[in-house]
Each structure stands twice: as structure tokens, then as C-alpha cells.
């Protein structure tokens, strides 16, 4: 390894306050610029893991390191800026009255103002192809547009790693493809939680399988999706008629 990895998780374990243990020692490393899919059945602990990446949940045991910086109280502001999480429901993510204010929220919280702030907002919206929508209220946008604005709100803080929880859910095929184009055009590290296996294959050369709170597999996406025994063991199923080996 030449450069520090974007994300390094070591022995991460976590139990919810009600006693339910969701993570049992997760280990993973994601290098700078990689695009990695995080697969796993419902309840595997994917969202729980994601909430550890920017310190919303504090590890019961183990550690999370983002670009060499340990996640913890000491560097919280810095960590929150470096880890951009796009949540599943854009209505939760977009909480300001206009698109512009929403995209500006992160950088403005970090102290940016005036022309510099405007430039950052402009650039982030351009990256997701939503430059013309700055003054619209989020609830007047289509679901796919809202999802893209949600990505922009996070890009505006120039994160080290972009984490998306189910980015393709509820999107029609065209919006799904548009989002894929956006994600492919970015040069940030991406960790994508998804149940959409063809999407993972299309966008992420590498996949991790999280199952029952541990990483059960880590390898090239095509190999993982082709391993029928592994797939069945972890309740992963390809859509009808989809053959991973046959996709270019």
C-alpha cells in the first residue's frame, strides 16, 4: 500500500442499546478511489455499519479510520466532512427549503460564505446534472432528481469517501442509469450499500458481503455474484434471467 486507505475498519462490533448485537467484528479496507459495493440480506447490519463510518454510532469494540484519521469525538467535525453519507430517503436528506440552501448547508456549517460558497454549490449541482434547479424547493422535484440533489449535498463538502445507502431504490430505469452515470463520473471513493446486484456489478469492480454482522466475502463483484453457493448461503438472489458472466 502506497497511500493511506480511504476507509479502514478493524474488528468493529456493536450492540444496540436494547441489547441486540448487530455487528460482530467487521474488518474491511477500501483504498482511495475504489468503488465498492456492500451487499447483504435485510438485517445484516449494513446500515448499522454505515452509521459507524461518521461516528453517529460509536463502536462497542474495534476502530474505524477515515483517511488515517480515527473516528471519535476528537475529530468529529473533520470526520463528518470527510465521510459523505447519502441516506436512503431523499426527503430525510433534503431538509432545507430550497435546493441551493440544502447543498450549501454542509460547507456553510464548516464556515464557508459568500462567493466561495456559491461556487461550491454551483459545482456540486453541476456534477449531478442539477445546475438549473438551485432555487427549487426539494419537494417539487421528482424522486430521481431528489436523489441526485442528495448526492450533491454531500459532494459539496468534498468528502474523502461517498457512502450511499440503497442509491437505486425507488428509481425508474432511466433515473437509475442517470445516477449511475453521475456516480461513475465522480473521482471519489465510493461505498455503495445495495440490494440491486446488477447495479453493483455495473458500478463496482469489488464487492463485500456482510452477513449476520461479519464480512462473509470480499472480492471481485463478478466472482461473488457467480458463486451460487455463497449467494444462497447469504440470501442473495439475482433478478430473474440475469447472468453476471454474460454482462460485458
Amino acid at each position: 500500500m502506497t497511500s493511506t486507505p480511504s476507509l479502514d475498519v478493524r474488528g468493529l462490533a456493536y450492540a444496540y442499546p436494547d441489547g441486540h448485537q448487530a455487528l460482530f467484528g467487521v474488518d474491511l479496507t477500501i483504498g482511495r478511489g475504489e468503488r465498492v459495493a456492500l451487499l447483504g440480506p435485510n438485517g445484516a447490519g449494513k446500515t448499522t455499519l454505515v452509521l459507524h463510518l461518521n461516528g453517529i454510532l460509536a463502536a462497542g469494540a474495534g476502530s474505524v479510520t477515515v483517511a488515517g484519521l480515527p473516528v471519535g469525538k476528537k475529530h468529529m467535525a473533520e470526520i463528518r466532512r470527510k465521510v459523505g453519507i447519502v441516506f436512503q430517503d431523499p426527503d430525510d436528506q433534503l431538509f432545507m427549503p430550497t435546493v441551493r440552501e440544502d447543498v450549501a448547508f454542509g460547507p456553510a456549517s464548516a464556515g464557508l460564505r459568500g462567493a466561495a460558497l456559491d461556487a461550491v454549490v454551483e459545482r456540486a449541482l453541476e456534477k449531478v446534472g442539477m445546475a438549473g434547479y438551485a432555487d427549487r424547493p426539494p419537494h417539487h422535484l421528482s424522486f430521481g432528481q431528489r436523489r441526485r440533489v442528495a448526492v450533491a449535498t454531500v459532494l459539496a463538502t468534498e468528502p474523502e469517501i461517498l457512502v450511499l445507502d440503497e442509491p437505486s431504490s425507488n428509481l425508474d430505469p432511466a433515473s437509475r442509469r442517470e445516477l449511475a452515470d453521475v456516480l461513475r463520473s465522480l473521482d471519489v471513493t465510493v461505498l455503495m450499500v445495495t440490494h440491486d446486484l446488477p447495479y453493483a456489478l455495473e458500478l463496482c469492480p469489488r464487492s463485500l458481503v456482510l452477513s449476520e454482522g461479519v464480512i462473509a466475502a470480499d472480492g471481485p463483484t463478478r466472482e461473488i455474484l457467480s458463486d451460487e453457493e455463497l449467494m444462497t448461503r447469504h440470501r442473495l438472489e439475482l433478478p430473474f434471467g440475469f447472468v453476471p458472466g454474460s454482462v460485458a
Binding site: 463528518r80 432545507m96 448547508f105 456553510a108 456549517s109 419537494h139
Partner: protein, 253 residues
């Protein structure tokens, strides 16, 4: 501005009145209302003067009279109350069209009607020329506590989301054969309201999570700074300043 938060009272336009920074307009309306309220009710001519000032502002803002009058309908409940006063207020009696009414009651009714109408008309003009978002930012500039500003902002943002959720729940109820008819069904409606509350509460938690993830530490960054220059303040305050001499004359007269 694009399709911002158009509320029912707002009327898109690019008149000089629309262009003034919201907080200057807020101060102007407040000043105007204070002057109007201070005016003794016996100075009937003064109220005609105020009405003329508002008419001038409406013309400048290109807000049609019909629009203004229709929006004044919010006032109707107060009008009803005012109309009762001549009949219920005790005091010296007089007859109007053969009906006995009280003189203090009549003056009381006039007082409410005249001042209320002027106040509402000024507010309607403010609302017609200022977007909701601008109003809230204006209040923030004027020192409204940040927490209240945040609450108001979230109400604008999530009002539609919650109404939509309510509508979906209603559709789901009706799709399963439920029609609310009478008291027997109130239990179901109450349970839906409870579910709506919990959903909104949980959404609140998720939104908070999203905010914290983007560096929220308790205060909203103030964006969209729109400081007012001297000319804008002068333009906005022209309304209360023109009303002031009328009031002074009425007080002296």
C-alpha cells in the same frame, strides 16, 4: 428567484416593492400598524388617509384591488364580532334605521373594523410581495431566535411531506373500505393521527441524523445574506413615515 415557496397569499412580480429586502418590509408594516393603532378612533379622516397610502403601495406593487379584497376575507370572523358590538355593548343608545344600538358599541365596532382592516391589508400586501422563505429569513435578521426560525423553516419544508403522508394514509384507509361517517369512526381516525405523529417523529429523527452527518452542531448557518442599503430602508420606511404625520395631526386635533 425560481419557483420558490409560493404560498397562497404570494403574488409573483418584480415590482420595486417585491425587490425590497424582507426585513425592511417587516419593519415598515410593524411601524405602520403601530401608527394606525395609536390613532384615535374619532379621527375618521385619518383612516381614509392610511387607506390611501396602502392603495398607493398596492399600485406600486402592482397588486390588483380584487386580489387584495379577496385576501381580506381572513378578516371576516372579526367583522362578525365587530358587528355584534353595537347591540351588546352597554351605554348611551341611538337608533340606526329604526334599530336601537349603543353609541360606544358603534365606536368600538368602527375602531375594530377600521384598524383591523388596515392592519390586515398591510399584512396582505407584505405577504403578496414577499415569499414565505424571505419572511422567515427577514425575521431571522430582525433577531427572531434561531430555534424559532428553524422550526418555521422545517414547517415550510415538511408541510407538504406530512400532508402527503396524511393523504396516502387516507387513501389506504378508503381502499380497504373505510369511510369516516360519524362518531363511531373517530377511533380509527385517532389511530391514524397517532400513526402519523409517530411517522413524523421518526422522520424527525432521520432528518436530524442527516443534519448531524453534514456537520450540524445546533445552529443553522445564515445563508442568503441580503443586507439592506440606506435607499432600501428609506423606501420601505416611507410608508410608516408618511402615516406618522396623519397620526400626529389626529392626536392633536
Amino acid at each position: 428567484m425560481g419557483a420558490g415557496h409560493a404560498h397562497k397569499l404570494y403574488r409573483r412580480g418584480d415590482s420595486p416593492v417585491h425587490g425590497l429586502p424582507p426585513h425592511t418590509k417587516l419593519v415598515a408594516v410593524l411601524g405602520f400598524v403601530l401608527v394606525v393603532v395609536t390613532t384615535p378612533r374619532e379621527a375618521v379622516w385619518a383612516f381614509a388617509g392610511y387607506a390611501a397610502l396602502l392603495a398607493a403601495v398596492a399600485a406600486l406593487a402592482r397588486v390588483p384591488v380584487g386580489f387584495l379584497l379577496r385576501r381580506l376575507a381572513i378578516e371576516v370572523p372579526f367583522v362578525a364580532f365587530a358587528l355584534l358590538m353595537p347591540f351588546v355593548v352597554p351605554g348611551e343608545q341611538t337608533t340606526v334605521l329604526g334599530v336601537a344600538v349603543s353609541v360606544p358599541g358603534l365606536w368600538g365596532a368602527w375602531n375594530i373594523l377600521a384598524k383591523g382592516t388596515l392592519g390586515v391589508a398591510a399584512s396582505v400586501l407584505l405577504a403578496a410581495t414577499t415569499e414565505l422563505r424571505g419572511l422567515i429569513l427577514g425575521l431571522q435578521r430582525l433577531g427572531l431566535p434561531s430555534l424559532l426560525v428553524q422550526i418555521a423553516s422545517f414547517m415550510i419544508r415538511y408541510g407538504d411531506v406530512v400532508t402527503d403522508e396524511m393523504r396516502r394514509m387516507s387513501i389506504a384507509r378508503r381502499s380497504r373500505g373505510f369511510e369516516a361517517r360519524g362518531v363511531r369512526h373517530w377511533g380509527v381516525l385517532a389511530k391514524s393521527a397517532g400513526a402519523l405523529f409517530i411517522r413524523s417523529y421518526e422522520r424527525g429523527e432521520r432528518v436530524h441524523l442527516a443534519m448531524v452527518s453534514r456537520g450540524y452542531t445546533g445552529t443553522m448557518p445564515l445563508l442568503d445574506e441580503r443586507p439592506a442599503d440606506r435607499a432600501q430602508w428609506a423606501a420601505a420606511l416611507a410608508l410608516p413615515l408618511a402615516a406618522l404625520p396623519i397620526c400626529l395631526l389626529a392626536l392633536l386635533g
